[in-house]
Each structure stands twice: as structure tokens, then as C-alpha cells.
Symmetry: C2
Subunit: 375 residues, 2 copies
């Protein structure tokens, strides 16, 4: 007997949110069209073509020629774990910058991969002075150095352009978390000689969450291919996943096919706009929001010299006495999602995202209209 | 300068395939509608409601009251790894049944989790005699016993109803891979006293690939909560993921929101049809295909007493001298995907899936029409 319909929950009927928290970000209509294309097989030659096009487009967005550029079949956190699991062997010295939640997570993942982790720390909201990092590299001679390019928990932007030389001098690998920066700020993998980087789809790429773009240099893949110990993870083992994305095309796991359709379209929109135009748009819209927030008594909590355009860490005016209640009103009355503070900053700050498809003048206007009602 | 459009690959334009391989399976239109709903935040109270409804529906499909029932944010292989990583501590004795590719993968994942793995083996295409397994359990007193309910590589159906007592007598946990069986065959988690099971969305649930339904008993969660060593994986650590799906609702990772929308609708369709009716439909359509294939000179390669209805492992007639070429013609000329043999069976068998939304009379007719053209 089929169950009576009344006992089964109805089809989803959800509000349309304005997504201006730390991600997910608003998704363009054509990306939602792409995700709903009829599914095809993960070994279908047509899907291999989709994967090839995704890789070629990701190479452009990462500004790299790395062959090993792929979409890891999990969210950004899985991409970070893929890099730590594959690049860290038990006992490897890992120097990891912790100036927010996501640096701390990288350190934890490196530890679970067996790494001997040393952290370098600075105040939340600040970036690391590259000279200070280089000094620590000279002292530590680490096998891996990992920093977060765009700390989603603090809004800090980490310069990366001068680190590689000292990392490589001691045979180490330079790893970057660019979850929140990719396609919203320059991420110059080859020029900065980054050995491995991972991102997420749900930030400036404006694709739903579910995949993690990753890229690895030949130097990094050399480490992976010559490991003395098996990778902790079978699902994320680049010796296996890499063969599915290039090389022998051997079956490994069933790729999230429709998520890849969405990523394909999201990347296409990025390249159609052009990276420079996209960076400029993020910066321009950020300045509009910033000026308007300062006029309303907000202050920026991140280092003004090293602030992200796509993620605004702000202290709200004193008139806001119940910050969680105010955010709840934004959501309930205006369908506006913004982020609260994370970790040490919980209850103290708001995080307002202007990412990808959402980094537009009309979105700034909608954000301000809603915020004016609750401050 | 934006790049000229001509340099950028065009929007996806893909053939509509008839998906009758080992998965992904055909996706119902309303599931594709659900996956394309506007994204909402992973911490949005509305998404918490979606997660709660998914859990409640998965409990019905798994036939369990397990609180720890959730959609792991990766494909089926990630779900299997989640169970091995969380349930196996270094040195644990794991008895794992290997009668096909997927049992072998479970063994590999248990090894990477630090388990001392013993395999029990039988011919590919055969199921294990439960008495033989019980005998090995008596000898080994393992901490974990894991078997594959529906071996997607061989079409074998593994009985599970008599194993738990002996596993539990020695304090072990009974784990089931039900990737291909869930919602196509009875999976009675509570009645059979299975401690942990994982599935995939892209088989009989007829949802695109990208999530893995998992369920764990209190006994299994007791093991997770009292581990002496950290879980290898941070992304799959049930101490963290579990808090996001229930309990404190603490942020862990950004869930694949739109994939969860799709799973919600796919589960709804399963319950609307009713489990028994769905099982009966899979069996009925399987018999239609089987009779027609036998008439055409195909033979079934899996044990006739223990064969899956949703995955038909067949030897093709002798007239097929180029099996890969024949499958390629099915794909190119008829948009029909069927599977080749996997592992030991590569080149020797075909795998024809009749799963979920694709287990219909009209699909059988389309399969036969296409096959008649190439045999």
C-alpha cells in the first residue's frame, strides 16, 4: 500500500534569499539551468568532455598551466583535506598560518595527515607580514607552508607573492587556501609559484556548494607520486582521482555529475565577463558598500591595508544590542542572509559578503535598505 | 577586456541519455526541478528544516529509528570511507567480504583507517553463505564485519538477516554497503540489527550523484564517541558532522545545498510510491528484461538464487565480438548507456541497470530495441 500523501512532507517550498553572508553566494539563472540538465554517466565520453572543459576553464581562473587541476567531489573543506592528505607524510614539518578559523582547520587537517605542525599566528583580522613568514621558514625549513589567502572568518587578505622562493629553497611546498578569493581577486598560481591551492564553488564562482576546485604543480604531484606511505583517504587519493580526471580515465568514484554541469556554467560566466573586469567589479561594489556602512556607524574590523573586497568584516553600531536577533530579522523580514562572527569573533562582528553574481549595485542597495531597518 | 565569446566554450549542450548502466540512473523531472531551486544558506533555519525532513525520510527508507542518519557530503565512496574512518581504530580486526570490486574497496578503506583486515572471499557473482560468514566470525571475533548487500560489479545479492547475533556476541559492529539496493530492495537496518550502512543517491533513489545516505546505530555511535585516536578525516569525522546534522547544529562544512534539495524530492517520490510497491516494481521490470534477454541468447552471470533485480549481470551472445564497440554503438546511436564488466569481469559481461525512475516497462522496451540492433 502506498503511504497516504498526507503523511509525506510536501515538495520543497523555500523562500528566495539574498545571499550576502560568507557563502553560499547568489547563483546566476543559467547556472541553475545547467545543474538541472538531465544527468549523464560519469564515464560517458560527453562527460569526459565536460571535465576537460572544466579543467581548461579552471586553469584560466587559477592562472595556471597545471595539468593536475580538477574539481574535488566535495565542498571546499574536502579540497583542503585532499591537499593535506596527499601532500603531508607522517612526520613532515608543516608551517601553517593561523589568523582565523580556516587556518586552524588546515592545521588540524595536516595533523590528522600525520604532519608535525608548527603554527605561525597573528591577530584575527590581520594578514601575515611576508618577511615574518620568511623568517620562520628560514628557521623551520618546513616540508610544507600553508596560508589562507582570504580568511573568510576575518576578512583578511594574505599577500602571497614573495613566499615561494624561501619555501622552495628548503624543498618545501607552498599551499594556498583560496576558497573565498578565487575569481574575485587575483589568484596567480604560476606567477606566485604556489604548489597547491584549493577553492570552493559557492563563493565568488557563484555556483552552489558541492565541489572544490583544486590545482597542483608538477612539484606537488612529484611528492604525491613518490609517497612512502599510502594516503589516509581513498576517496581523496590523488593517485586515483588524478587518473580519472586525466591520464588513463580509470573509474574511481561516481563524480557529482550535475554539480559539475553547474560549475561548468559558472566558470563560463567568469571567463565571459573576464577576470580583470570581475575583480574590478568586486572592488567597486565593495567600496560602495563600505562607504555606506561607514556613514551608518559601522566600522571595519579587518586590517584596512589587507581587507577582502568580497567579505566585509564589520562591527555593527552600538544601537544594535541583540545582534543575533537583528540578523534573524534581516532573514525573516527581508530574506537577507548575512553572516555572524565565527570563532573568537562570534557575537562581535558581522560578515557581509559581496561575491560573484551577488557583487552588484542593486544588491548593495537591497542590503542597505534591510540593514537600515534593524540598526 | 572581457575575452571574446568565441574563445570561451559554449553553454553545455548534452544528449539526453537513457541511463541503464550501474548508475547514475534516470532522474525524475521533479528532482531536477528541486536541484535547481535557488540556493539558500547551509545555516539557514529553512535548510535545517530540509535536513530534518531528509533525515526523517531516510529513516523510513533505511527502515530504522537511528538518530544518526544523514546525507554525507560526497558520493557513495565517501559514505563508505566515512564509516571505515569513524568505526575502525588502528589495530581493529575487520572481517570484510570480498566477492567483487566494492568489497575490495571497503577492505582498502578499512586498511587505510588502520584496521587489521581479514577478507573472506567467494567467487564473483556469488553471495556468501551466512553460515560460512558466521563460522569465520566465531574464529576471528572481529571488531567489525562488513559486507556488500548489492555488489554493483557482479549483480550478487547478499543476505544479511542472520549475521548480527554472532557479530554482536564478540562486541563487533556489522556494516553494510547498500549503495545499489536502497529503495530497490528491502534494507531492514533495525530488524537485521545492522550497525552502520551507507548508500548512494544515484542508484535506486534516482537522484543525481553527489551525496551518500548513511545511518549508524547507537552502538556504532558509542564506538565513534569513545575512540582513543582521532578520526583520520576531518571532513568525514562524525563527531563533527553529526553535530551539524543534529545536536548542536554547529557549523562544520558548507553542505551541498542544492544536492540536498534533490535528495529531498527523490526521497519524497520513494515514499509517495511506497517502499513495497517500489520493490515490487523493480522485481517485475527485472523479470520482463530477464525473460527477453534470455530469449535473445544472453545468459545471467550471477548466482540465480542471489541476483539483484536492479542490476543485471549478463553474458552477451556470441554474435557480439566487439563488446566495447557494441556498447559504444548503443550510446552513440541510441543514447543508451549500459555498463561493461568491472574488474575481473571487464570485457566479459554487461551490466544493465533498471533502477528507480528507470525501472519501467517503457525503459525495458527501449533497451531491447537498442540491443536488438547491435547483437
Amino acid at each position: 500500500m502506498p503511504r497516504p500523501l498526507s503523511e509525506i512532507c510536501p515538495m520543497l517550498n523555500l523562500p528566495t534569499r539574498l545571499l550576502h553572508g560568507p557563502g553560499p553566494s547568489p547563483v546566476a539563472p543559467s547556472v541553475l539551468e545547467a545543474i538541472a540538465l538531465p544527468c549523464i554517466g560519469h564515464m560517458d565520453p560527453q562527460f569526459m568532455r565536460v571535465m576537460n572543459e572544466i579543467r581548461a576553464m579552471m586553469q584560466q581562473v587559477f592562472q595556471t598551466e597545471n595539468e593536475m587541476t580538477l574539481a574535488c567531489s566535495g565542498t571546499g573543506s574536502a579540497g583542503g583535506e585532499m591537499l593535506m592528505d596527499n601532500l603531508v607524510e607522517p612526520g613532515d614539518t608543516c608551517l601553517i598560518g593561523v589568523n582565523g578559523v580556516f587556518g586552524g582547520r588546515l592545521a588540524e587537517k595536516a595533523r590528522r595527515a600525520g604532519g608535525s605542525v608548527q603554527t605561525i599566528e597573528t591577530d584575527w583580522g590581520k594578514a601575515f607580514d611576508q618577511d615574518v613568514v620568511i623568517q620562520r621558514i628560514e628557521e623551520t625549513k618546513p616540508d610544507m607552508v600553508a596560508l589562507v589567502h582570504a580568511e573568510t572568518s576575518t576578512g583578511a587578505l594574505q599577500p602571497f607573492d614573495r613566499l615561494a622562493e624561501s619555501v622552495h629553497r628548503y624543498g618545501g611546498l607552498l599551499v594556498m587556501d583560496c576558497v573565498t578569493s578565487l575569481s574575485g581577486l587575483p589568484v596567480k598560481i604560476d606567477e606566485w609559484q604556489i604548489d597547491a591551492a584549493y577553492s570552493g564553488t559557492q563563493k565568488c564562482l557563484s555556483c552552489p556548494p558541492g565541489l572544490s576546485p583544486v590545482t597542483l604543480s608538477d612539484r606537488a604531484m612529484n611528492k604525491v607520486n613518490n609517497r612512502q606511505t599510502p594516503v589516509n583517504s581513498w576517496y581523496l587519493d590523488l593517485n586515483l582521482v588524478g587518473n580519472y580526471w586525466s591520464g588513463s580515465r580509470a573509474y574511481h568514484h561516481t563524480a557529482p555529475v550535475n554539480m559539475n554541469f553547474a560549475l561548468h556554467e559558472a566558470l563560463r560566466l567568469v571567463l565571459e565577463e573576464g577576470l580583470e573586469a570581475r575583480f574590478e567589479r568586486h572592488e567597486r561594489v565593495h567600496r560602495q558598500l563600505k562607504q555606506a556602512l561607514l556613514e551608518r556607524g559601522f566600522s571595519y574590523a579587518s586590517d584596512p591595508e589587507h581587507s577582502l573586497p568580497m567579505l566585509n568584516l564589520v562591527q555593527f553600531p552600538k544601537s544594535v544590542t541583540d545582534e543575533a536577533g537583528a540578523r534573524r530579522r534581516l532573514l525573516d523580514e527581508f530574506n537577507l542572509e548575512i553572516g555572524g562572527g565565527l570563532g573568537k569573533l562570534a557575537g562581535k562582528c558581522w560578515r557581509i559578503g559581496l561575491m560573484g553574481h551577488g557583487a552588484r549595485e542593486e544588491n548593495v542597495a537591497a542590503i542597505l535598505q534591510a540593514i537600515d531597518a534593524v540598526i
